[in-house]
């Protein structure tokens, strides 16, 4: 998918002016936030589990080569195959040849951000294979020819009425001509339209929440059951996953599962957690005849050696975007690529380049809520700050910003001069603003005052107050 992260500012402006989006955003964040807090309260061990979950992933990442080798051995022993792919292009070619071997005309898919990352749908279509998204939100987004705006709720930007119009338009050719207006009716219609698609599909593609080294298993977690129908019914299921999904044992996966749903939707546990190991056994009554795992690197092995290693702990729960004031204002599409919100602000520049995505780490007020709620305790604001530093060092920010920051840095290294100038500035501003108590416009600060007033300073600088001991 072509990234539009470069146009974050314009995207965000469009998001702010989209009334339907604003209605949807206003509704969703509150619900998720309350449910997460309640779920955490019901489990006294929640914080301790977050610590363990982080430690498990850190241990795994420090020994990633070994666990991946063991994982592959177990997949092979169970009769499956692991395909190691460095780039999205490698992965697409493997998937295409697996589809061709299965003579596939349609492929059902269960929501996978990795598939978005490798732009799988347009690629399959180019090769005459029809991909059918089965997660309800992802199905809506596919019908609308859009992209997901949230990693666990892909159609969160749409109102019910928009979905109703969309279904009316796209399902009319299927003989379903009535416009529905209740959510249950819409869910029911999607169920009826998709059921035959599951049964007819030749290949089913799912993501994976975990790969388990101990057993060579892949795990999917869904509420709808679409992932299971996608991987049980077709002859040839394909699991796509990135390297960092591996964990050592079933117990390790279990610990992380305990924080996953609670952080994501505030559920105690998702409806369906399925652990799959190899193809069907000789005496099984159903199940697929093959088992393929497409294991994608796409920059992860490089990130492992960088200062951004910690983001590889991410379990794609979505909590950081559920709690981000910027995401909640501009919506997920503004971020312009697969991963929105705070995790996107760190992942996207790492995966598609800081040149493409330099705005994203700046789209944060550093309020710190993302780090507070991240079940894997990823220091997202700290990582964004490192990207901002890189942006400056690599001269990617505009000249005015660079020279501004440069002047400030020069001054900041000269404390006496800094104190003198800021003290002078604050007195001048205080005198000028005494009458109204605020400024609606200031030279050189137009960007700031365009949307808000600057209160006039009332006393000394912070440094001066600090020295005097007025620290309260």
């Amino acid at each position: 998918m072509d990234a539009t992260s470069r146009s974050f500012v314009a995207n965000a402006r469009a998001g702010l002016q989209d009334a339907d989006l604003q209605t949807s955003l206003a509704r969703f964040q509150g619900g998720f936030q309350v449910k997460r807090v309640e779920a955490a309260k019901r489990l006294p061990e929640f914080e301790a589990l977050r610590d363990e979950a982080r430690a498990i992933k850190d241990h795994t990442l420090a020994h990633l080569d070994h666990y991946l080798e063991r994982y592959e051995e177990q997949v092979t022993a169970a009769g499956g195959t692991v395909h190691w792919c460095q780039t999205p292009e490698d992965a697409r070619q493997v998937i295409l040849s697996l589809c061709q071997e299965a003579d596939a005309r349609t492929v059902t898919k269960s929501k996978s951000m990795i598939a978005e990352e490798m732009e799988l749908n347009p690629f399959l279509e180019e090769h005459g294979i029809e991909p059918v998204e089965t997660d309800l939100g992802e199905y809506v987004v596919q019908l609308a020819e859009e992209r997901p705006s949230h990693i666990i709720a892909p159609a969160v930007h749409k109102t019910k009425d928009q979905v109703a119009d969309l279904f009316h338009e796209k399902h009319t050719p299927l003989g379903r001509t009535r416009r529905l207006d209740r959510v249950e009716e819409l869910v029911e219609e999607a169920r009826e339209v998709l059921r035959p698609r599951y049964l007819a599909a030749d290949v089913g593609i799912t993501g994976a929440n975990f790969l388990i080294a101990e057993t060579g298993s892949s795990t999917i977690v869904t509420n709808e059951g679409n992932g299971d129908l996608t991987q049980i019914l077709p002859r040839a299921p394909i699991v796509i996953a990135t390297l960092e999904k591996v964990v050592p044992t079933l117990e390790d996966a279990t610990t992380i599962m305990r924080v996953l749903a609670r952080s994501a939707t505030g559920q105690e546990f998702s409806t369906y957690t399925t652990v799959s190991t190899g193809p069907r056994r000789p005496d099984d009554a159903d199940g697929p005849e093959a088992y393929h795992v497409v294991l994608l690197d796409n920059g992860r092995s490089r990130m492992l050696g960088s200062e951004f290693r910690e983001v590889l702990r991410c379990i794609k729960c979505g909590a950081c975007m559920n709690h981000c004031p910027v995401y909640g204002t501009v919506g997920g599409h503004a971020y312009g690529w697969v991963y929105p919100g705070p995790v996107g602000a760190v992942l996207t520049p790492n995966l598609i380049g800081l040149e493409e995505a330099r705005h994203l780490p700046n789209a944060s007020s550093f309020c710190g809520r993302c780090e507070e709620v991240c079940p894997m305790r990823i220091p997202l604001p700290g990582l964004m700050r490192k990207l901002r530093e890189q942006e400056f060092e690599r001269r990617l920010s505009p000249a005015a910003v660079r020279s501004g920051i440069g002047v400030w840095a020069w001054l900041a290294r000269r404390p006496a001069l800094y104190r003198c100038l800021t003290g002078l500035g604050i007195r001048v501003l205080g005198m000028l603003g005494r009458r109204r108590g605020r400024f609606t416009r200031l030279p050189l600060a137009g960007g700031w005052t365009a949307a808000r007033d600057l209160p006039a300073p009332e006393g000394a600088t912070f440094h001066a107050l600090w020295r005097k001991g007025r620290r309260a």
């Binding site: 190691w84 869910v187 069907r280 009554a285």
Partner: protein, 234 residues
């Protein structure tokens, strides 16, 4: 790109990032020990309670996620409980049942109106009946494993899924399920103990993808009904 080319390149890149070559023997042995003897991590204390309270907790947790639970006493009561449930919900007295010897042991013959087919689920099946390996009180979760006696399609295709679960099979935490599978795996136990599919099921299928409105029966079953059987040693 050849498969091995990709593999070596990726492993090499991981090792470069970790600033080392392949692990030495001792380090590998320590990690393999961790894999060979998996230890539970922190297990929430909520299921450290006597068995009868676990059954209560299982029931309330399952009901909280829209499953329905019926508790019957003795194996003889099972066919009647299933037939009554179908009648109450205006469902046809026809079902597809897992070819599970434990289910066969119930006296279905006493309910001749029930038309029972044994096997995997087909498109037209509206009601499926299966057993479950275990239940976990922690979250009201059922563990079901694929095999000749339990086709996985029964857990997902029919719109009504009835699970018959002897009360003795209700445990506390998910970890007990893994321990059970390892023990059952017997001779194979070296990672090879896993059935093709292990389904952990907590309530009926649901979605909240449209305006966060929870709606049941998104793709999987609309109804999950659990018949807990007391005093059934099967």
């Amino acid at each position: 790109m050849s498969a091995t080319g990709g593999r070596d390149a990726i492993l090499g890149s991981i090792r470069r990032s970790l600033g080392r070559g392949p692990l030495d023997e001792a380090a590998r042995a320590a990690l393999d020990e961790r894999l060979a003897k998996p230890q539970p991590n922190l297990v929430p204390a909520r299921t450290d309670i006597p068995q009868d309270e676990r059954v209560e907790l299982f029931t309330s947790m399952a009901e909280a996620v829209f499953a329905t639970v019926d508790r019957v006493s003795g194996a003889d009561a099972v066919p009647g409980a299933v037939a009554d449930y179908l009648a109450q919900h205006n469902l046809p007295p026809a079902l597809v049942m897992a070819p599970d010897p434990a289910l066969d042991a119930y006296p279905w013959g006493e309910r001749p109106m029930l038309a029972i087919r044994r096997g995997r689920a087909e498109e037209a099946d509206r009601v499926g009946v299966t057993g479950a390996v275990m239940g976990f009180a922690e979250t009201g979760t059922l563990m079901m494993t694929s095999g000749p006696d339990h086709p996985s399609s029964l857990n997902f295709l029919p719109e009504t899924h009835i699970v018959v679960l002897p009360a003795e099979r209700i445990g506390g935490a998910y970890e007990e399920g893994w321990a059970h599978l390892r023990a059952e795996g017997g001779a194979d136990a070296d990672g090879g103990f896993m059935p093709r599919t292990v389904n952990l099921v907590t309530g009926p299928s649901r979605t909240a993808d449209i305006e966060q409105t929870i709606t049941l029966g998104a793709h999987g079953p609309r109804r999950l009904h659990i018949v807990i059987v007391e005093g059934d040693e099967s």
